[in-house]
Symmetry: C2
Subunit: 422 residues, 2 copies
Amino acid sequence: MHDYEVLAREVMARCETLARFSENAGGIRRTFLSPPMRDCHREITNWVAPLGCKSKVDAAGNLRIRYPGTGVNGRTLSLLVGSHLDTVPNAGAYDGVLGVVISVALLRAIDGRRFPFAIEVVGFSEEEGIRFGIPFIGSRAMAGTLDEEVLERRDADGISVREAIADFGLNPAEISSMALREDENAIGYLEFHIEQGPVLENSDRSLGVVEAIAGQSRLKFIFIGRANHAGTTPMNLRHDAVAAAAEWIGAVERRAKSVPDLVATVGAIQAKPGVGNVIAGEAELSLDVRHRDDETRKAAVEYLVDQAKHIAKSRGLEVQILELVNQQAVAMDSFLSGQIAEAMQKAGCEPYRMVSGAGHDAMIMATKIPSAMIFLRTPGGISHDPAESVRVEDIAKAIECGVQLLDQLAASSKFLSFMPRT
Amino acid sequence: MHDYEVLAREVMARCETLARFSENAGGIRRTFLSPPMRDCHREITNWVAPLGCKSKVDAAGNLRIRYPGTGVNGRTLSLLVGSHLDTVPNAGAYDGVLGVVISVALLRAIDGRRFPFAIEVVGFSEEEGIRFGIPFIGSRAMAGTLDEEVLERRDADGISVREAIADFGLNPAEISSMALREDENAIGYLEFHIEQGPVLENSDRSLGVVEAIAGQSRLKFIFIGRANHAGTTPMNLRHDAVAAAAEWIGAVERRAKSVPDLVATVGAIQAKPGVGNVIAGEAELSLDVRHRDDETRKAAVEYLVDQAKHIAKSRGLEVQILELVNQQAVAMDSFLSGQIAEAMQKAGCEPYRMVSGAGHDAMIMATKIPSAMIFLRTPGGISHDPAESVRVEDIAKAIECGVQLLDQLAASSKFLSFMPRT
């Protein structure tokens, strides 16, 4: 048996190695099929070659590493394990990358043992949505839910997704046929990822089992009052858009605090004309609402829309409301999550069941095959930032838990008999 | 006696004529000593030449038109009347200009009569502070309170105040000696100006007597919390700078509404990073507080500073506070204001005593000589906007009131015996 701490330290070192492959010096930025992505693929391929794996990059730019299995009654099965290799600008070294590198460490940890299923490590090409403003290009292509029109979207330099794929030496025409097929017998997807939040740290835990990925609403609110002189307009004759916005932000916060696990955020606010001596005639705000239960989320959004209208009316303002995103919650596979919980316990971690407030590739893969996620504690809850970090001991637990899980799944007739949806 | 309505219509037409002298086509913008200011000077000089006036442009770019008086016991006296000729960008046709044009109309309305004092119509060169970011350059130069270092301030094109003066054909070296001197015997300054607020309109009045120009505090508040993921950070673990700012904006509004005549405004707010799916780590806000009573204003600012600190502390944030402006209230001359009230009554307007929330040249002139202001109703309270307007009947009342005032002052031994401060 491996010393998981040693493997965990190797994982940290490997994440740091991959962090050097960046579009800009002095920071980490690695967007969809950018040149450093090629270095990433080469490096990881070199790590797994001695383990008897075959690696390829598929038409959507996903790195796919296959460690063969023994099959079940002549049927070839595969378990997908991984995360994404792209990053946000000014990123940390672990968001996405850590899940791929832990998956590779799993292959090291099993020491050449074969399972009934092949283990396919996936390094998704695109999760963050930075280059084209569209997230999950890699996993959507694999799940077969990528709209053809996405291929025509262009980046800031006018290069389309299709052109970017061709420029990388891949064949965009293969995208339409690359979705997981029944005959591939992919029977599950497991993703390791940093939590990107403070919940595990705050409850003093290494790992979490993700039960669901929260649904998400994003809206834009524009309060329209009347711009006027800050010195000459008495308080009772004002139609101040910033004051109305502030009252509504209070309502957003109160609602979110009053409903368990609901989060609601006003992250953006802009006043017009936006100068100190003019009462704002307009205030534009963002609203982001998330919850595991879609009805709870929708009720909160409806309430906050009503509140905005009520506050605007009571102050003689108007409010314009635009819905930008209305994305349903996605449940993780309960059988796989149960198995993860059991594996965690064996690895000495009390399993902590939680909801992911952020979207992940597992949310996309879940539309096709049973999918589950393991979260790793994120110190300070800090992610999408150079200060993003992860603890060696937590990585060791994650690898140990992963090995346990592989053994459990190999012994589960229920798991091995899964027939993929087509 | 003149038909004041006819004169008022001429005033409207003349304001429209001057509105054509702009730095940009299709809008009004006429900043300090910009080329259209020369057209303005020429046009107004042509209007007053037939009235027996001498015109000049002083070293600070102020247009000064002198209609001679008879003097008192061999002593030459002068009453200054006017406002400013510069505008904000995208201005209306009346802010400032109207006061100068009404002053010219006064010279028409007196039909060649002489008063013990000369009447000097002043068109100040700079009140808005657009070109150099410094307001009141014209009136400060005349009041002798213009710091020499202001002459070195540069505009967006790198041209200094000194150079702008020389480029216009004036001599910046004369600035230091152009302040009103005792031997000029300027015994008062009267300014006509649009109210730029809704108070007169709301109380259905044409004219107001300005008793004081409100003191003004301007501050910058920066709430510093912690930026974090909007989806993964539970409400109870947030340090949301926008939520803190919103709570404080509520306190600003409540305080202003609870103290008579206090106005307090948050006109600018910026969140960082300012995107919808990130809890704001920073929120920067402006605060503008005004009141006629300096103690009331200071008490409000102190309270709001305390509130900001209290709100920040209770949420685990910090707050940085910078004072940008702390300008005392300026009382208008009570004798002159009383005379104006009397003249208004004679002109058929019930005098409405009010405070100006905006700064004016009269505030600067008041440091040197007795100064007073007459406000004209501003439809919709709209100013600094192309929609700015004024009513013919109100202009007629203002001219009539001005003529009454001249007669009263000519008969006032108290006024005529005033000795200027030096």
